[in-house]
Symmetry: C2
Subunit: 434 residues, 2 copies
């Protein structure tokens, strides 16, 4: 775990004045990482850090040689078209660069004149994936989601006996993950309603989103060497927002016995900015299982994990449609309600010796809360299509229609800390290709 | 599909005399690809082609500029530390290089003197993975395996209703795949026997191998663009042997509802050589479902797939133990008995728009036949540990023990064609790390 330091000081302000606005996601306390270039250009993508409504171009900063030692080395690693090399450096390097940037972007910093030339307005840039995503694993850490979905797929057996012991996860498809702005045709596949004699082929009729947190692995472990729960956080570089698109009808027919496959692999979309775990330090929460539930096995237990293993991260989800560009809220939930922490997911993932690598992405699973309006997908919100949701113009949805856009945003706020945000992930559905 | 050409002529012989031996896996009709370097050296890995007991160093051949146009371009792409760039070229490039190498390695070729300097004995080299494996997907294409395993995990419901319609597959872990020679500690994890009150943590007690065929994707498709079954073979670069290690007790407790995860992700091992689909052309077999079974949906049906979609590829599996270095045979089976063809796996995988990429690996799933001695894993061979197998020194096995080595070999032979082989995949189990 990190320690609170001068970079978290809520009173810090920046000479980039937009960073001092109350409603920015990117005050100087945040400093998240992305890969960007000028919109529509053929420039190489390179690392950038968000500050207010600007991006600071890390490749340009690296050339100035303002920083020394580890911070400069980290900056060099951020100059390439993926952040994998930087993420593969350790916590000390991530922290050194954060401190150097925080110092140089502060009100009154002597570096202001030089760094002003390294700023580009966020409105003028486009993003790529922040790193080459190696393996993608999707967990299932909301017990509220698991229970509600389980009751739809297996009415007699909603929450399976392993759920309260095993941080359930499965391997996902990495190639089809793209950054915010992704569009994709409605997927086709085999569909079979319960009373159909045989499956038929056609476009998915029950297309859904899933509100998830994405957890990016930084440095990895060697094959055969598990990761102790006490050290698990050292392997996490940072978090983003993840929309794990799902084709519920394809899923229902294909998922037994080996799990979801084509129902998930057609697209997943992430927000461009990775907010580092160091920036998230003021927003950690205690973690525990309900007293009556089994307590985690020792390999998943540590004092640190109990004291501050969870993230108090608010997740909002909105929709616009082809006929209504005004956003309708679909849900608000919070990552702190997850039944397993990010650290537990990392430790569990590697307990068999599986090697994690810089650039691996872990999905938290759909983050639903216990209450109405906290369900992170339409399957839950509409009880599998039985109760349509009504949008702010009176339109209704059971599942998604062509032309729909899903927007997710996330932020952390807490008494005594500066509010930080994650930006957004936005993605739209095109008609099927037949 | 390719057409038979001069490279398949069974009467062709090479000036590399070991390639003319009856029992070589690597006659001039084969010409499979790997990444290699001199054993124990710090040389860069580069592409090589097997010929008899030698490797021809493609980076060295590229420098000679003996070939022209597409063949030379392909050769350049093989000079790097992964074959991804070469695999991402198309069938025309793969074929041009095969023809050029076949011509230059033939008895009487004028290139002999120059190419002799590019040979290194296979005994003197070490291999890396042939390419960076992007996404790994494991199918479940043996109905015999699915039925037998299903009857052990779900006695009341062995073969699920979707099996005869859907080429069942799931995403696997790419990071822990290594080349022949891999060793790994016995994995630990959560174990729970049916009558245990709660799970416990410890080393896997039911460690198993799985005999599979690995299918390497060459050129890929764009996200959102499915692959027509008529074109599916154009996306396949070649095949290898795959041992998909499995921890059966971890699997039994974790696999519902999202499929196998830690029970598979600790290690998978492949043979170093990729045998191209062009080399395999003489060994194609017709494909059909039994008459009484549902016929595949139209998107999985083509005349070519019916006529020659299957591969007649014999798969052998052997074991040695820490006290017995003499190989005992465990099984012999054949890929031609698979319920779905490699082409159907490719088309199904992309039918939802999922993008395949050069370097993706598809596992065929355990290839078991209908008869005794054709079961591709111990779970089947021992009926989940109830009937131990006896090795040639009298030792018995239900599941694998520390120090055991599994060796798999594969070959194709047929009247009127030169026999070709795949070499071997060999891997050993170390004691658990606790």
């Amino acid at each position: 775990m990190y320690h609170l330091n001068e970079t978290h000081d809520p009173s810090l302000t920046s000479w980039v004045s937009s960073a001092n606005s109350d409603d920015t996601d990117f005050p100087i306390q945040n400093l998240p990482f992305a890969e960007f270039r000028r919109q529509g250009s053929s420039e190489a993508f390179r690392g950038g850090v968000a500050i207010g409504d600007q991006v600071i171009d890390l490749a340009a900063v690296a050339k100035l040689k303002l920083f020394s030692d580890l911070a400069q080395e980290a900056l060099q690693a951020c100059s390439h078209s993926t952040l994998n090399n930087f993420m593969a450096m350790d916590k000390a390097a991530w922290s050194a660069l954060r401190l150097a940037l925080s110092t140089a972007l502060q009100e009154g910093a002597t570096e202001q004149a030089q760094l002003e030339n390294c700023l580009i307005a966020q409105d003028d840039v486009e993003y790529s994936l922040p790193c080459e995503i190696k393996d993608y694993t999707d967990f299932y850490s909301s017990i509220h989601h698991a229970t509600k979905v389980g009751s739809l797929f297996r009415p007699d057996n909603p929450l399976l006996p392993n759920y309260k012991w095993v941080p359930i996860g499965y391997h996902g498809r990495a190639s089809s993950i793209a950054v915010s702005g992704q569009t994709f045709p409605r997927p086709c596949g085999q569909l079979k309603a319960a009373d159909d004699e045989a499956p038929s082929f056609g476009p998915c009729k029950r297309l859904d989103y899933e509100v998830e947190v994405g957890i990016f692995i930084g440095n990895g472990n060697t094959l055969g060497e598990p990761i102790n729960i006490e050290d698990a956080e050292d392997y996490i570089f940072g978090l983003c927002i993840l929309n794990d698109w799902s084709a519920r009808d394809i899923q229902a027919w294909e998922y037994q016995p080996l799990g979801p496959f084509l129902s998930k692999s057609f697209a997943s979309t992430i927000s461009p900015w990775i907010v580092t775990t160091e920036a998230l330090l003021p927003f950690r929460s205690s973690f525990s299982h309900p007293e009556d539930d089994p307590q985690p096995l020792p390999y998943l237990t540590s004092e640190t994990n109990s004291q501050s293993g969870a993230f108090d991260m608010t997740l909002d989800c909105f929709i616009t449609t082809s006929t209504n560009q005004e956003e309708s809220r679909l849900s608000r939930s919070n990552f702190k309600h997850a039944y397993w922490t990010a650290g537990q997911m990392v430790t569990h993932h590697a307990i068999n010796g599986c090697n994690l690598q810089a650039g691996d992405l872990l999905g938290s699973g759909t983050q639903s809360g216990a209450n109405e309006g906290e369900a992170g997908c339409l399957l839950e919100l509409t009880t599998a299509g039985k109760n349509p949701v009504t949008l702010n113009n009176g339109e209704t949805r059971t599942f998604l229609e062509d032309g729909d856009t899903i927007i997710m945003r996330a932020h952390c706020e807490r008494e005594g800390a500066r509010r930080i945000g994650f930006g957004e992930v936005r993605s739209s559905i095109l008609p099927p290709k037949l």
